[in-house]
Amino acid sequence: MALSIEDIKKIAHLARIEVSESEATATLSKLTGILGLIEQMQAVDTTGIVPMSHAQELHQRLRDDVVTKTNQREAFQKNAPVLGNGSTQPAVAGGLYLVPKVIE
């Protein structure tokens, strides 16, 4: 199926990546080429073949239901991004991460 500019914009929205009009056009031609490569799969009859989702056919190991992680909030928050919108402060306050208001 041929992709359109509208498809690219929709996929980019789903992936939360902003694309400009010119980027969408450039992306369309590259993705069309890659999907052309992928289309080779359609020539194979895969009726009845069990999908292989992983290199190992093993069940997930279970661990004991005990606390294994220690609280490292301060260490992790040292990597917080800069808040932005005019502020050069880290996007943290009182041990929380700062994001734009989500609930009105």
Partner: protein, 495 residues
């Protein structure tokens, strides 16, 4: 000294002919001299490195050194190392200082190895030329006009230029073996699950596997002894007994050390698309194996050609999910200006990711989106099984499989950068082993005239059955006992 094996370096250290600080300093001096032109390293921290070397000297003096104590290694920048800038080659993580160690880093620390620095790589390991790195491309030490391969291009160039004694890499579709081939080194991608992925930044989790990149199979075996092993923090780490990967190498030498070994040569690896000069080098290497006692068997891996389309559904699908964590909230790049939460996500990701990473996220998002899942993702998983079954059939007839690791020698920088499909075809001989979860390695087998100039390294690929790494390493080692391709060094003043 810079061309010494890990074993030789260890015995020099333990005999106190040289200290780890001196050895480390000599590599740091080479890095200062050559890294500005080669760009193999993203992060260096001389104080941290020398502190480790000093500690290693104390450990050697105390008499409890391991095989790697005091040996300076380079770590691919995909591994979190506490206190080190850890970028995965991306602007997204340009300011990220890892708050903890990857399992692989912990293992090397415990062995007393010295970390020289973090090596350059394609952004989030997505690339076959190291040109997608936010920190710039890497020069192939054999010819500065050519790429080192990727995604572990920095590690490959660092080993080839002798800017470290050995290095780590990761391989999702060929990212250890293809750069090893293009830079003339020995690199091993172990069976899936042998090396813990804890603290290794995820690309496609069902395919990613770490492994060594070194000068020889003997060195790779010593690296594997440290890297491999069960780790409960990786849910796909296998609970297997600890192995000595050097065990096959130390057997007494005979004229035909590989007598009875059955080598399968898949006809699909020698079909259209393989450079004729590379084919010649591979054929000559196979002839050496015949002299070592091996028997050559013609085999077929009929679904090889499908491995690329299958991979470019599955790997981007997994990547689109794995990379959704980079949202500008808790770490990584956040846009300077944004209106609401979605705008912050959209702009942070648009600015933080490079073009190839974005393309793969978009492909992954597309193939997983409503209405396309069965046609793409499920179909690819079904063909993945066909590819794995090809190998199961092949290993009924042979012990190891051999062929080229890459279809050509290193190509020129910029040559394929605007043509993703041409770039993806670089991994035609390596991807199928990742899909099947099998171990694969590349070792130097000679040089071939590139179409545009110099003679450049060619890698022979060995694919083994599950958990057969020790045998593969010996098969490579025996070749390296009767050839010296792995000991050749590029002339950096002329490259």
């Amino acid at each position: 000294m810079i061309n010494s094996s890990l074993k030789q370096l260890a015995s020099m250290l333990q005999a106190k002919k040289i200290s780890s600080v001196e050895l480390t300093q000599s590599f740091l001096t080479r890095i200062t001299q050559y890294n500005p032109s080669i760009n193999a390293y993203i992060a260096l921290d001389e104080a941290k490195t020398l502190a480790q070397a000093k500690a290693a000297d104390a450990r050697i003096a105390a008499g409890n050194a391991t095989a790697l104590t005091g040996i300076p290694l380079a770590q691919k920048d995909i591994f979190c190392a506490q206190g080190w800038q850890t970028t995965c080659g991306s602007k997204m993580l340009a300011n990220f200082i890892a708050p903890y160690d990857a399992h692989v880093i912990t293992q090397f620390d415990q062995a007393g190895a010295v970390n020289l620095g973090k090596t350059n790589m394609d952004e989030f390991a997505m690339g076959s030329s190291n040109e997608t790195s936010y920190f710039g491309g890497v020069k192939n030490p054999w010819s500065f006009d050519h790429v080192p391969g990727g995604s572990s291009g920095g590690s490959a160039a660092a080993v080839a230029a002798r800017l470290c004694a050995a290095a780590t890499g990761t391989d999702t579709g060929g990212s250890i073996r293809q750069p090893a081939s293009l830079c003339g080194l020995t690199g091993l991608k172990p069976s899936y699950g042998v090396v813990s992925r804890y603290g290794m930044i995820a690309f496609a989790s069902s395919l990613d596997q770490a492994g060594p990149m070194a000068k020889s199979a003997e060195d790779c075996a010593l690296m594997m002894n440290v890297m491999a092993g069960f780790d409960e923090r990786d849910s796909t780490s296998l609970q297997r007994d600890k192995e000595d990967y050097s065990r096959e190498l130390n057997k007494p030498q005979t004229d035909q050390p590989l007598l009875g070994l059955k080598i399968g040569m898949p006809k699909e690896f020698f079909a259209e698309g393989l450079d004729a000069n590379v084919a010649q080098v591979i054929t000559a290497a196979i002839d050496v194996y015949k002299k070592l006692g091996a028997k050559i068997i013609d085999i077929s891996l009929p679904n090889t050609g499908l491995s690329i389309p299958v991979y470019y559904v599955l790997a981007p699908a997994e990547a689109s999910s794995n990379l959704s964590r980079y949202d500008g909230v808790r770490y990584g790049h956040r846009a300077a200006e944004y209106t609401d939460l979605n705008d912050m996500y959209n702009k942070s990701r648009a600015e933080g990711f490079g073009a190839e990473v974005k393309r793969r996220i978009l492909i992954g998002t597309y193939v997983l989106s409503a209405g396309y899942y069965d046609a793409y993702y499920l179909k690819a998983q079904q063909i993945r099984r066909l590819i794995a079954q090809d190998f199961i059939e092949a290993f009924k007839q042979c012990d190891v499989i051999m062929g080229p690791a890459a279809p050509s020698t290193a190509f020129k920088a910029g040559e394929k950068v605007d043509d993703p499909v041409a770039m993806y075809l670089q991994d035609i001989y390596t991807i199928s082993t990742n899909l099947a979860g099998l171990p694969g390695m590349s070792l130097p087998a000679g040089f071939a005239q590139a179409k545009d100039g110099p003679a450049l390294p060619v890698g022979l690929q060995i694919i083994g059955n599950y958990f057969d790494e020790a045998r593969m390493l010996n098969v490579a080692h025996q070749y390296q006992q009767v050839t010296d391709w792995h000991q050749q060094m590029p002339d950096l003043k002329r490259a």
